[in-house]
Symmetry: C2
Subunit: 238 residues, 2 copies
DNA sequence: CAATATCTGTCACTTAGTGACACTGTCACT
DNA sequence: AGTGACAGTGTCACTAAGTGACAGATATTG
């Protein structure tokens, strides 16, 4: 997940997708910095353009609106949760999986990703008072909710659009949102990061377990094909 | 809750509050109608102004943005849930309370309120595809979440900003949101209203109960002062 | 190098939203 | 009745967000 990988993933024309994401992220970084420093209303599209070294017109080609400039940074700040959820094997408990994934993450994270994460936390904080940004944050949470619906559906052996699944996913995602906001606020208010991160996995898992009435969080029995006792389903990459 | 009450509730100057809410609701009605008929992007501020018979400038005096014109109608569509939650006595179960309140509501609702409710459902539906409107809907859900936090806090004897309470409130509010979306979509797709409303109270209550790990939904023992066995705390009016 | 397709800048333009000021009706006090 | 204060609205000029259209730059392929 380092940010200097360059794939030869383009078949024709421009380096679409790969490059586009980079540009969007670059813009998002500057926008987030300015939003945090001056507020959203106090920041103009021209300022963002100047900060990132592009013309204003190009900004609007990459983002539909000023506030949406914050989306990539916010989305990236929940990306690791998303990835972790996606790679959650049936036979493990949520706290186990979170703990090992977090350990793996700490060793792999790059300085620039760390800076991005900081900006993301700031945007989430800002979203509490700036309605314009709240949309970006809630969109990211929506993303989590959908991913969660898929994960829960496979765990319980039901369809993702089943009403019961949607209820569980919504409740669990809401719990995760509250925890994210709580942890983020704590970090910004100067709480020691280690104090927050240390034993929180059990807390997170319990929150999810509670929100889903105990249906989600524990290992799941695999009845049909007990012939795959290793890692398992980490095959998708957004 | 009839819409023709006129109170002498102003001490000086204009009839602030009372009148302002009426005007905002009027604007919201027309805006919602236009949004539904032509889409949000296809509706201009000038059109809204003309439809409601005011100048465009006055529209912007009542609403910060075009999309926020939908807020009052959306908010009103969850207002009864809010009121029901507020008046939920400690000693009753959620399904009991919802059932009796719903019965009371059916007899008191006015035709224009029914029309407003229809518009509200349409806006919620529209919010699924129009990001601009999603904000309004999520704001209303936020409102529910806060109210719920207060209600749950008193039920469990804790502070509303307690993390556990916030988790419960968020999860329960998310469940209510999903149910609202589900029921709304059903209504618009032509499902018989009675089929949906008939036995849904137990379902709603169970959803809340599940989302809060069973902590919210059942009657609560009143230890301290058992000297008030009647309705109770329905004193606030927004 | 030529051909082609994508990306970007510039400029004119529409639309959302604000500021400033004038006008009108209502209330309060005389 | 007269007058002043004030809230609500309309009008007009203005800023800022966002789009369309076209031209120039850049990169990829043959």
């Amino acid at each position: 997940m380092a940010d200097d990988v360059v794939s030869t993933e383009r078949s024709r024309g421009g380096m679409s997708e790969q490059r586009r994401r980079r540009v969007r992220l670059e813009i998002s970084r500057e926008a987030a910095r300015l939003f945090w420093a001056q507020g959203v209303d106090g920041t103009s599209g021209d300022q963002i353009a100047e900060a990132v070294g592009l013309s204003t017109r190009t900004i609007w080609r990459h983002f539909r609106s000023k506030e949406s400039c914050a989306e990539p940074i916010v989305a990236q700040s929940v990306e690791w949760e998303l990835a972790t959820l996606r790679s959650w094997p049936l036979h493990r408990s949520l706290e186990e999986h979170f703990a090992t994934e977090a350990k793996r993450l700490v060793s792999e994270i790059s300085p620039s990703e760390q800076a991005d994460a900081g900006l993301g936390v700031k945007m989430i904080r800002l979203a509490e008072t700036e309605p314009a940004l709240r949309t970006a944050w809630l969109m990211a949470c929506d993303q989590v909710e959908h991913e969660l619906a898929a994960v829960i559906a496979t765990r319980l052996g039901l369809k993702p659009d089943d009403l019961q699944i949607r209820l569980h996913a919504a409740a669990a995602a809401a719990a995760l949102r509250v925890i994210n906001e709580y942890v983020g606020a704590g970090l910004l208010d100067g709480t020691d990061p280690r104090k927050l991160g240390d034993e929180s996995f059990a807390f997170i898992a319990d929150a999810v377990r509670t929100a889903t009435g105990g249906a989600v969080g524990d290992p799941v029995q695999v009845d049909e094909a007990p012939a795959a006792p290793d890692e398992g389903a980490a095959d998708r990459q957004e």
